[in-house]
Amino acid sequence: MAKLGLDIHWRGVLLVSQFLKDAGMEVIYIGNKFPEQIVEAAIEEDADVVGVSTLSGNHLTLGPKVVELLKAQGMETVKVFMGGVIPPNHIPILKGKGIHEVFGPDTPMQTIIDGIKTAILGTDPPTG
C-alpha cells in the first residue's frame, strides 16, 4: 500500500491497511512513494496486489505509470487498486489504462476487502 507521490492524507490508507490486516492479509505499507519505487517494492515483496491512495489529483498522471511499470517488469498478474478522491468520470479512464478497481470515498471497508480478495483468488498462483 502506498501514498502516491506527495499526497499527504494518511488517514484513509492507514485505515484500509488496518482493516485488510484484520481480514488476514499481509499488508506492507511503504509510505509516500513514486511509481518506480512502488513497483520495485511490489517485485521484492512478491505482492499479489498493489494499493495506491491519493486525494490530491495526481491519479491520472501517476496511477497508470504503476500499471505500465509492472507490466514492463513481468508482473502483469499483479492487480492495482486505487483509492481516495477520484472523480467518477476519471474512473473509466483509469480502468482503461489497466487499474483494476477504483474505490471512491464512502466505499465500505467490506467492499474493499472483498474486492481485493476476489482479485487475489482469481489469479493464477505464481510459478513454482
Binding site: 505499507y29 511503504i30 515483496e45
Partner: protein
Amino acid sequence: MKKTDRLIEAALAGDKLSIARMISLVERGDDQAGRILEKIYPQSGGAYYIGITGPPGAGKSTIVDRLIHLFCVNGYSVGVIAIDPSSPFTGGSLLGDRIRINRDAFKEDVFFRSMSAGRVMGGLSRTAKDASRILDACGKEIVIMETVGVGQSELDIAQATDTIMVVVVPESGDNIQTLKAGLMEIGDIFAVNKSDRAGAEDMASSIKAMLDLAPLKMDWHPSVFLTAATLNQGVDELYEGLWNHYRHLRKEDRLKLRRKNQLRSELVRKVDEIVFESLRDRMNRDENLDLLLEDIWSKKTDIYTAARNIADQWKAGASGKHGHTDEMS
C-alpha cells in the same frame, strides 16, 4: 519440477522477480520449498551476514537505510530481510519497514524483503534464515537481517548472523537496565542512535562500562558508536566498525567456528522440528487420543506416564495406536 529449476536458475542469476517468488514459496512451505533450499545451499555462504536489532523507536530502519547506501556506494550488493514478529494470531500483519527506505528505484543493487509471522508457515526465525540464505546464494554479498528486539525469536534471528548490531537510543532515566538483558549479551557492535539528544554520551559510557565487565566472546571487545542517522552523523564510523568485526572474524578461523556452531544449533533445531512435526501430526490424527484424554481427566492415568508411553511407542517405531487403558491398568 522443471518450472522450479528454471526459477532457481533465474534467481541464482540474479533476477529479482524469481528471487522474490522463491522466497514466497519457502515462506508458504510449498512442496517445492525443500528442493529449492537444497539446491541453493551449495551456492550460499559467501555473504557477510549482519543482524540489526534493538528496541522499537531506536531508528534501526534509518540506520539500515544509511548502511545499505554505504555498502552500495562501495560496490557491494545487498540483501535485507526486515522481520516483524507481531500478529501471529489473526494471520494478518501490517509492516512498515519500507517507509524509511527512500532510494532511487532500480538504481542500486539492493533487495529488500519484509517478513511477518502471519505469512510464514513454519517458524519465523527458520524462514528468515532460509530467506537470507537464498539472498546469499543469489549473489548478495551483504545480507542484513533487521528485527525488533523484543522476544526470543528475534534474538534467535540475530544469532544466525556473523555480526550482531544492537541499536539503542538515549532516553530519560536509567536506561541500560531497561534494555532487555539478552540484547546486551549478544551485541558485537552497539550504536547509540539519535545521539544529538541529551544523554547519548552517558548511555554510550554506561554501555562501555558494562561491556568492560563482561567476558569476551571470541576475543572480541564489542565497540560502541554514537550515531545520528537522520543527520548522517556517525554512520561512516559505524560502517567501518562492521568491517572491523568482519576482519576480526576472518582471522584465526573465528568465522568458521562461529558459523559451525550456528550450523550445529540449526541442525539440531531442524531435526527437532521434523520430528516434532511428524509426531504431532500423528498424535493429532490418532482417533484414540480423546479416549486417552478422558483417562487422564478421570485420573485413571496421569499425564506424565501417558506422555512417556506415547514417546516410547514412537521411539519403538510403533504405528497407529498409542498406549491405552490396557497399558494403564
